[in-house]
């Protein structure tokens, strides 16, 4: 009779290492949509740390540790006094650098009374934060805004949205890298189901893991007829995904005119950023742009609604897997397929970086 070896929580924890949930600290993460950060305190948990965000009167975004060092009151419950933040519990006042400038009950300020300040960079739709060593926070490491599709003269932004997903950021990353789920989880929307039989080309260039899938004779779905405003029954189509470690993705669809394939394709470009809230929850930032039907409100609404409806299907899968992982069930040995080459490469690289950082 076959037997199953008993497994405790530690055995599962080892197995889950593939589903990256530890944090890479020395990296830029999106912490907020620019429109979310106002001249008012915004508290957000990032990589398990409570962070206070606000915008100064001059419009500069400030990111500080969201814990008053006096009695650990969340500073985001406080109020702004000009560009300074006052703790709502005992009134300690900190400036935009995190320096304590006033303690109402005494004249002296202890040297340890400060809030850690985090490097932040605002780039059009998104605000980026560096949670690791500030000395390594080089803004040049942030993916270019044209690359993300923001502000590119050939593209107009459709929309950008945010959701907190109940799943680890590794699951979110793998959902984006994985092409073959499209034929099932999103059946009928992207294409007719044939794509699962072809393999993407996968490569790595610096911090980017790239995949490109191309079908010269794709059967175009009714959804794509509407979305791309084309009447082709069969057309060359590409799906390109670039993963910028550890948590930013740029994915685009190229729709070619079958009668003139040398022409510039119609492109729908999606940028996604996944920032761990905790080990098992993720801030999901999405933005979309396109190089056709620019600044057309009807297409903006259609593209935004449908893209978000598709992501709802992804949330369904990610959150179902996360819920199962947290049940501490006996898991079978994970099996990977040939088409998982991009995912396996990403896991290897990310786990390597996590080990180098000390596995926080």
């Amino acid at each position: 009779m076959d037997t199953i070896a008993p497994q405790g929580p530690s055995a599962n924890a080892d197995r889950l290492d593939g589903f990256v949930h530890k944090f890479i600290k020395n990296a830029w993460y999106v912490c907020a949509q620019a429109r979310e950060v106002e001249h008012a305190p915004l508290g957000r948990r990032l990589l398990n740390q409570p962070i206070l965000l606000y915008r100064t009167g001059a419009g500069k975004v400030v990111a500080l540790h969201d814990i008053c060092p006096h009695r650990f009151m969340p500073m985001s419950k406080g109020r702004l006094v000009g560009d300074k933040i006052r703790c709502t519990y005992h009134g300690s006042l900190f400036d935009a650098t995190g320096t304590c400038v006033e303690i109402p009950s005494q004249d002296s300020i202890p040297p340890k009374c400060f809030l850690r300040a985090y490097p932040v960079v605002e780039r059009r739709n998104w605000v980026w934060i560096w949670m690791g060593d500030p000395a390594k926070a080089d803004p040049a490491l942030i993916p270019g805004e044209n690359y993300l599709g923001f502000g590119h003269e050939d593209y107009s932004t459709v929309d950008h949205r945010y959701r907190l997903v109940k799943g680890r950021y590794g699951l979110c990353n793998e959902n984006l890298i994985d092409d073959t789920h499209i034929s099932f989880l999103h059946l009928g929307q992207f294409e007719s189901g044939g794509r699962v039989h072809t393999m993407p080309e996968v490569s790595q260039e610096g911090p980017w893991i790239k995949s490109r899938w191309f079908d010269p004779h794709e059967k175009i779905s009714p959804f794509f007829h509407m979305l791309f405003d084309v009447d082709y029954e069969i057309a060359p189509r590409a799906l390109v995904g670039h993963f910028h470690l550890p948590a930013t993705h740029v994915v685009w669809i190229e729709m070619y005119n079958p009668k003139a394939p040398q022409e510039k394709p119609r492109v729908l470009r999606v940028a996604l950023a996944f920032t761990p809230e905790t080990e098992t929850t993720t801030h999901w930032f999405w933005a979309e742009s396109r190089n056709f039907r620019q600044k057309d409100a009807a297409w903006d609404a259609f593209a935004s609604d449908t893209s978000w409806a598709i992501q709802d299907q992804d949330f369904f899968a990610i959150e179902a897997i996360e819920a199962l992982l947290q049940q501490n069930a006996e898991l079978p040995e994970e099996v990977s397929f040939k088409a998982d080459a991009g995912i396996m490469r990403a896991r290897r690289v990310m786990n390597q970086i996590i080990r180098q950082e000390g596995g926080q």
Binding site: G188, Q189, P222, F223, H225, M226, L227, D229, V230, D231, R293, A297, A298, W299, A301, F302, A303, S304, D305, T306, W308, A309, I310
Partner: protein
């Protein structure tokens, strides 16, 4: 022609004075055995009819699923993405008609 399609036609006809957003074009919803629904914006005000005629864009969708979009039960764009089974003619008109349907749905709820 089904009672459901007739009900959708009446709902849209109540807003025929509004801009359909499709210019001077004709959009037809083909609900198979349930019949068709034609939105003719070449006339002012637009004519909403269940009598079949040629159209610049024909959208194949089942009547109960079209109702989901027109009633606001589902976001219009998501309903088109999931339930439209074919688009003939000018596919862009299937997107341009959606703000009108959204508007009808919003006013129906208010």
């Amino acid at each position: 022609m089904s009672a459901l399609l007739d009900g959708i036609a009446q709902r849209l006809a109540a807003h025929a004075q509004e801009d359909l957003g499709i210019g001077a074009a004709v959009v037809k919803f083909d609900a198979g055995g349930d019949g068709v629904l034609v939105l003719d914006a070449t006339a002012k005000p637009a004519k909403i009819s269940t009598a079949d005629r040629p159209a610049d864009c024909t959208i194949k969708i089942a009547a109960p699923l079209l109702m989901k979009a027109v009633s606001g039960e589902m976001p219009c764009g998501a309903a088109f993405m999931k339930f439209v089974r074919g688009v003939q003619g000018r596919p862009g008109l299937a997107v341009q008609i959606q703000p009108f349907l959204r508007n009808v749905a919003a006013k129906g709820r208010s």
